[in-house]
Amino acid sequence: MQLRTFPCKSVGRMLLFAALALLNIACASIEPWVQPYERDNLADPIMATNRNPVATSYTHHAYQAREGARGAEGGAGGGCGCN
């Protein structure tokens, strides 16, 4: 497989690509400081930001309908980290 030779001005872009790919691989190898088998407290439902979605979305709606502010109400992530 033959690649064409690159003119000088695309070197910058190539370096950016290389840096991003390296960052990606490096990031993939950062050792997590909380191991998957240490996540029992984080997996506990009392740590969930959205333990009862039906009640939470109703509560947000009740306030939002009477207040001027809106947005940034959700929460995500955390928990079990299984699979």
């Binding site: 497989m1 033959q2 690649l3 064409r4 695309s10 191991q35 998957p36 088998y37 240490e38 996540r39 029992d40 997996a43 506990d44 079990c80 980290g81 299984c82 699979n83």
Partner: protein
């Protein structure tokens, strides 16, 4: 800006990248015997079988499964592991289900409902989890009759136990 002058070259690169990635993610084949490493030895207390040591199992195929009471996929996997144990126990096979709960009594939350005949070992201080560099919950490692690691699988999804059965059958025949 063009890298490739023909569609054919582009397709070859994409095929190469896809096949490389496939090699990384498929694990349905047992690792080659000659390049396999010895499974790290450990001794842990078990629920009903006293202290158990991995090295004493040499001669049998061992499926090591790291699980916890708080892990949803682990809960789904446990009864299926019992089925595998029932099927292959007489052929020189055992499962070591290592429970990683900090509070070992939590294991009973599941075990009271899902009776298992294979040994359940307790690793509350995570010593064996660290030794095996457990990177996901659950993690399954299959060790052959010579004590070498031949298969490793992270996580659990419906259908994974079929993969384990395939590997176990291969290793039992060796």
């Amino acid at each position: 800006m063009q890298y490739f002058s023909t569609l054919k070259q582009a397709r070859s690169l994409i095929t190469l990248m896809l096949s490389l990635s496939l090699l990384c993610i498929t694990g349905v084949h047992a690792a080659d015997k000659s390049s396999a490493v010895m499974a790290a030895d450990f001794t842990l207390a078990s629920k009903a079988h006293g202290n158990l040591r991995l090295q004493e199992q040499i001669g049998s195929v061992v499926l090591i499964n790291f699980w916890a009471s708080w892990c949803g996929p682990c809960r789904q996997e446990l009864p299926l592991l019992e089925e595998i144990q029932q099927q292959y126990a007489d052929l020189g096979f055992t499962i070591f289900a290592i429970n990683v709960d900090k509070d070992s009594s939590k294991a009973d939350v599941l075990l009271n409902d899902i009776p298992v005949s294979f040994p359940v070992l307790f690793d509350p201080d995570s010593k064996v989890s660290e030794l095996y560099q457990v990177k996901a919950m659950p993690t399954t490692v299959i060790v052959d009759r010579d004590g070498k690691v031949r298969f490793a699988h992270l996580g659990y999804k419906n259908g994974d136990t079929d993969k384990y059965q395939h590997i176990i059958k291969t290793l039992l025949r060796e």
